[in-house]
């Protein structure tokens, strides 16, 4: 069994009980968050690691997605076929299996890496399959006629790029790009299955030490929710401030 498996052994055969045996249907469980809150430095570190892992995976993933999208829109036929099949393969298999193939499978072929590196690689491999289609939609939203109109109006090349190519393309892909980032961030929790150092793995450590399973996972779930709400708010504010579309006539 891979390390980082965090439901206790008792839980696996379904006999896990919280506290003393008691009457079913009556809540007389005594909550005890003290042990969980005492571990706040660990939780905070886990939160930071989750953010770093998400940001790195997104950044690398987007660079590769741009390359993939260019390959798909203007590459030779065989390349487009490979990219299409890659997208389908990744989209139609679970992320957990992708991590297992990379972390447990690749060493058999001589490629060994740490659990953090494997987690990052798996996240990148996964997000690129979605990123390529998002970037491609952005590229296709650029209208040739508008570039020509810009030239006719005497705009400089840099102005054309900024106002006619970049801004509309970003406007077109911004919503799917930001929700993809949040999906990616939530997906990092699966990396705990190979004991990568992120928030869910920290939760596993704390629960195996304190046996306060509900309290740990409740607090950590709230932390993920806080991250999501934070990013939803920030992304919406950025969109309102910088990406407001010109009123259409």
């Amino acid at each position: 069994m891979p390390d980082g498996w965090h439901v206790s052994e008792k839980a696996h055969d379904g006999r896990f009980r919280l506290g003393r045996p008691r009457q079913a249907g009556r809540m007389n469980y005594e909550f005890d968050f003290a042990d969980v809150f005492a571990a706040w430095p660990e939780l905070l570190q886990g939160l930071v690691n989750t953010l770093v892992l998400s940001a790195l995976a997104m950044a690398i993933g987007m660079v590769l997605s741009i390359a993939g999208a260019l390959g798909k829109t203007s590459g030779p036929k065989w390349l487009r076929w490979i990219i299409d099949e890659y997208i389908e393969l990744i989209r139609n298999t679970p992320f957990l299996i992708q991590i297992f193939v990379i972390y447990f499978g690749l060493p058999a072929t001589g490629l060994r890496m740490s659990s953090d590196a494997a987690a990052l690689l798996a996240l990148v491999v996964n997000v690129v399959a979605y990123g390529i289609e998002i970037i491609r939609a952005g590229i296709e939203s650029i209208q040739k006629g508008q570039i020509e109109a810009g030239k006719a109006l005497g705009l400089r090349p840099l102005q054309i790029f900024r106002l006619i190519i970049l801004k509309p393309a970003i406007q077109a892909i911004y919503p799917s790009l930001t929700s993809q980032f949040i999906l990616l961030m939530l997906n990092t929790s699966v990396c705990s299955a190979i004991a990568a150092s992120e928030l869910t793995a920290v939760a596993g450590d704390i629960q195996s030490r304190t046996f306060r399973s509900f309290e740990v996972y409740f607090v950590v779930t709230c932390m993920y929710l806080a991250l999501s709400v934070f990013f939803w708010t920030v992304f919406a504010a950025i969109e309102r401030t910088f990406l407001r579309k010109a009123p259409s006539r």
């Binding site: 069994m1 891979p2 498996w5 439901v7 839980a11 696996h12 055969d13 379904g14 006999r15 896990f16 009980r17 919280l18 045996p21 008691r22 009457q23 079913a24 249907g25 009556r26 809540m27 007389n28 469980y29 389908e88 393969l89 989209r91 139609n92 298999t93 679970p94 992320f95 957990l96 299996i97 992708q98 297992f100 193939v101 447990f104 499978g105 690749l106 060493p107 058999a108 072929t109 949040i182 939530l186 997906n187 929790s189 699966v190 705990s192 299955a193 869910t200 399973s213 509900f214 996972y217 409740f218 950590v220 779930t221 993920y224 929710l225 999501s228 709400v229 939803w232």
Partner: protein
Amino acid sequence: MRALGSSDLLFIIMAARWTLLLSLVAFIGGSIGGVLVALARTSEFKWLRLAATGYIKLFQGTPLLMQLFLAFFVPGLFGWSVDPWTAAALGLSLHASAFLGEIWRGSIEVVPRGQWEAATALGLRFWPKMALVIAPQAIKLAIPPTIGFLVQLIKGTSLASIIGFVELTRAAQVINNATFRPFTIFALVALVYYVICRPLSAYSKRMEQKLLVAAR
């Protein structure tokens, strides 16, 4: 350690039935919950709309893995000890309710306002209006994203392995622990998921294209 035999491979492939069964149960549970969420989300009562929005955000803003953990541990607070199968079915159903609810709300709202008004003008009450006028139009639009979500759900069942439910992924781990042939085993499992999910994805994409053509 022992050699990886054909019976091991068969064991893994046969475990796919648990993946399929869990997906089916979660999809049915999620459909029932999803209808309720979609109706609440489009309700005329503000508090109902707010409650449904909160429910959806809660499930869209937290990892599925956390949702499964809580589905496993929360019943314990009330003295019900649940087995991994029940916890996985419960967690995935609640998860699917939120996502299907949001998908179906979208489909309901795309039905033109005039259709609602016409149905009201014909004297139809809420349920007949929904069943006879709105649903037939909304369902057609809802099919591609619903099948798309079904693929997500089937992939999501792999996380049930982490709370100890023996399905495809867990079966592969069990065999891997005994034989240690991770590349072969997990590649095989990936292939099984692919064979299940790819046709559904392709169908969803084809239906979507058809609707796009029809809308033009």
